[in-house]
């Protein structure tokens, strides 16, 4: 049995000095979320980049109680932690927070997440959405956007990359009727802070999906992380929306820039600008953004 202890005072929940890549969007987002969560919490972490770069035994970046079990069971482990704390009479004092990547959340742990929602566990689940299986080398997930090239949906002579749009998990979460669902981006710090705080203030299941750009996975210059997140939002491809009890209550208005401005700096979309077949996909991507703009009224 081995365990590593740090205090909240030295770490503020999530300590720097971990092994994330330069320019990692996820590590910045987790730091913001943890500053809002505070010291009275238990963190449950699915297998993935965050788990791996923050806890190579015997090191740990966590100054709060933290547990990792498996890839697909973070929602169920969080359910068990919550049930135990409830039975111990501690749930008024201690918040249960879970982190999972998009693969853990949209794909392999989807059933467990739905179970956690419908059983009404008091857990704030944060999905760190970098749109592929980055920890294993940029394989396609259910969250990979249309036309992105990944190592398992590669662009090729007869392929323009991923041929399906992202799974819309925020809408699926909202359809469970849970009290709070939100999308956010690590590039809008104040908005993410507010949503983390809001999620922590509501009792019951909460789902916050945070867009976190990934320099090696997306293929852009690592100093551009915040810019990449903003471009995704401002073109309409990543709508920033809040739901309460299944209803949309707030959206972030956008400038509506062309999707090319977001696609061009990224290696995963490079092929779209090099072939006729690739170029033919760009209007389809623009239509996905336009559909989001219409659906959520992103432009006044």
């Amino acid at each position: 049995m081995s365990a590593t202890a740090f205090t909240y005072e030295t770490s503020r929940g999530f300590f720097p000095g971990h092994r994330a890549c330069a320019g990692c969007g996820q590590s910045a987002a987790v730091r913001i979320v943890m500053e809002m969560v505070g010291p009275r919490c238990v963190v449950v972490n699915a297998t993935g980049c965050l788990e791996v770069f923050s806890t190579p035994h015997p090191e740990s970046a966590w100054g709060v109680p933290w547990i990792h079990s498996l890839f697909e069971n973070a929602p169920a482990v969080a359910s068990g932690v919550e049930a135990a704390l409830k039975q111990q009479g501690k749930l008024d004092d201690v918040r249960v927070v879970a982190f999972g990547g998009d693969g853990a959340t949209l794909d392999i742990g989807f059933g467990a997440l739905s179970g956690m929602f419908e059983r009404n566990h008091d857990v704030a689940y944060f999905c760190m959405d970098n749109e592929a299986y980055m920890n294993t080398g940029v394989q396609r997930s259910g969250s990979t956007p249309f036309a992105a090239s990944t190592t398992t949906s590669p662009a090729g002579r007869e392929s323009f990359g991923e041929d399906r749009p992202k799974k819309d998990l925020p809408a699926i979460a909202a359809a469970h009727g849970i009290p709070y669902v939100a999308t956010a981006s690590m590039s809008y710090f104040a908005d993410l802070r507010r949503k983390a705080k809001k999620a922590l203030s509501v009792r019951g299941p909460k789902y916050v999906q945070v867009h976190v750009p990934c320099p090696p996975g997306w293929g852009y210059d690592e100093k551009m992380t915040v810019d990449m997140g903003k471009l995704a939002v401002e073109c309409g491809l990543y709508p920033i929306v809040e739901w309460e009890n299944g209803e949309v209550v707030r959206v972030r208005k956008i400038k509506k820039i062309p999707v090319e401005d977001y696609l061009k700096p990224q290696g995963r979309f490079r092929h779209l600008f090099r072939t006729e077949q690739g170029k033919a996909q760009i209007p389809k991507i623009q239509e996905l953004a336009d559909a989001n703009i219409r659906k959520y009224g992103l432009v006044d």
Partner: protein, 389 residues
């Protein structure tokens, strides 16, 4: 108090007496009566626990993992395909050294689909780090749950335990059992006091990954402690006898073995049939004995060597086998006896797969075929059903 109740009811009542704070399960035949009874006990306020009704066995095991890690004694029950679905989590629970008790109702594995009894499911988890106890009857199943929590939570052990009981044969059979009182169980089983738990006042990182420079040693510790747990299993059986006056063996139980020339080895409810059959064989002048393996993990190799040393022949009756290999028990017993002086031949009979009844006729057949020198065979096979190979 002595009561005539179903095996599942007996398990549910004793689990309640162990005061779990988190219970989580997913229904699967023939585990269902246990979790239905537990649900009712919680619904009636007889058990003060959070009952988490999950969407799969994978999540049931994961909820228990989270519950124990947060410091609450937890419980689940499953069988067969459910145990297979839990398998990934079960390895993880053992590796994280979280004490937990799960009732492993024994049922065959698909395909073909079969809801009936054998031991293929729990034996498939033999390498997981879970300790495994097998019950002969409902009283033993009941008693084993109390013992299992005490063993699992012992600081020298900190490994989870599967309490294995035969599906339908035990779970759905009414027997008279002595159900202890809450005071008696409380006196024997103190509240769970974890060394480490998820506590904001004393934060720990649980479940960090280990590179090649650490993993080897962590697995060594699990193996070391699993082997050493045998002494704790024995100690707890003795303590239980002192407290409750019942003894059904510790890691093994020998029946009529002292002068036995042929010793029949098995686990679970078939032991009852075998004991009666051995009595009948002795009435015919055959010096036969039964060795019950009560604790399969840790594997009691020394006790088996001692118990089998004087026999002229050992016949292992297996409700499972490693397909393409050998009977699982027989292979391990052969390994345990290897290199010993005067090692008896160890025969292996696959019996009772998928709920096929094991009768005196089956046992007569194993006796004859082993005596004729057959080493590995299926007993009770309906050869008229076999397709040409």
């Amino acid at each position: 108090m002595r009561k005539m109740i179903e095996g599942s009811r007996a398990v549910a009542e004793v689990v309640g007496l162990c005061r779990p704070e988190v219970i989580s399960a997913y229904p699967i035949t023939p585990q269902t009566h246990i979790v239905e009874e537990l649900s009712q006990l919680v619904a009636d306020g007889d058990i003060d626990a959070e009952y988490v009704r999950v969407e799969s066995e994978h999540s049931a095991a994961s909820v228990c993992l989270g519950g124990v890690a947060a410091g609450s004694r937890s419980y689940s029950a499953t069988t067969s395909q459910g145990l297979m679905l839990m398998a990934e989590v079960l390895y993880n629970i053992a590796g994280m050294r979280l004490p937990l008790v799960i009732t492993g109702v024994n049922r065959a594995l698909s395909a073909p689909l079969s809801i009936w009894n054998d031991h293929q499911d729990t034996l498939a988890l033999r390498d997981s780090g879970w300790l495994q106890l097998y019950a002969e009857n409902n009283q033993e199943a009941l008693d084993m749950h109390v013992q299992a929590y005490k063993i699992s939570e012992d600081d020298r052990v900190l490994l989870p335990i599967l309490v294995c009981m035969d599906g339908f044969i035990l779970t759905h059979t009414y027997e008279t059992v002595d159900v202890p009182t809450q005071e008696e169980v409380d006196a024997f089983l103190p509240p769970y006091r974890p060394l480490y738990r998820l506590d904001p006042d004393d934060p720990y990182t649980l479940g960090a990954f280990a590179g090649p420079e650490m993993y080897h040693e962590i697995r060594y510790e699990i193996q070391r402690d699993a082997l050493a747990a045998k002494a704790v299993v024995k100690e707890v059986a003795r303590d239980f006898q002192a407290a409750f006056g019942r003894w059904m063996g510790d890691v093994v139980e020998a029946y009529q073995c002292d002068d036995a020339e042929t010793i029949y080895v098995a686990m679970g409810s078939v032991i009852g049939t075998m004991k009666e059959w051995v009595d009948a064989r002795r009435a015919q002048g055959e010096k036969a004995g039964v060795l019950k393996l009560r604790c399969f993990r840790p594997f009691p190799a020394e006790e088996l060597r001692q118990a089998l040393a004087g026999a002229k022949r050992v016949v292992v009756l297996e409700k499972a086998l490693s397909v393409g290999g050998y009977g699982i028990l027989a292979a391990e017993i052969r390994a345990a006896l290897y290199g010993q002086p005067n090692t008896p031949p160890v025969h292996c009979a696959a019996i009772g797969l998928g709920g096929r009844d094991v009768t005196f006729d089956t046992l007569d057949e194993t006796e004859k075929r082993a005596a004729a020198g057959e080493m590995d065979f299926f007993a009770g096979l309906r050869t008229e059903l076999l397709e040409a190979s």
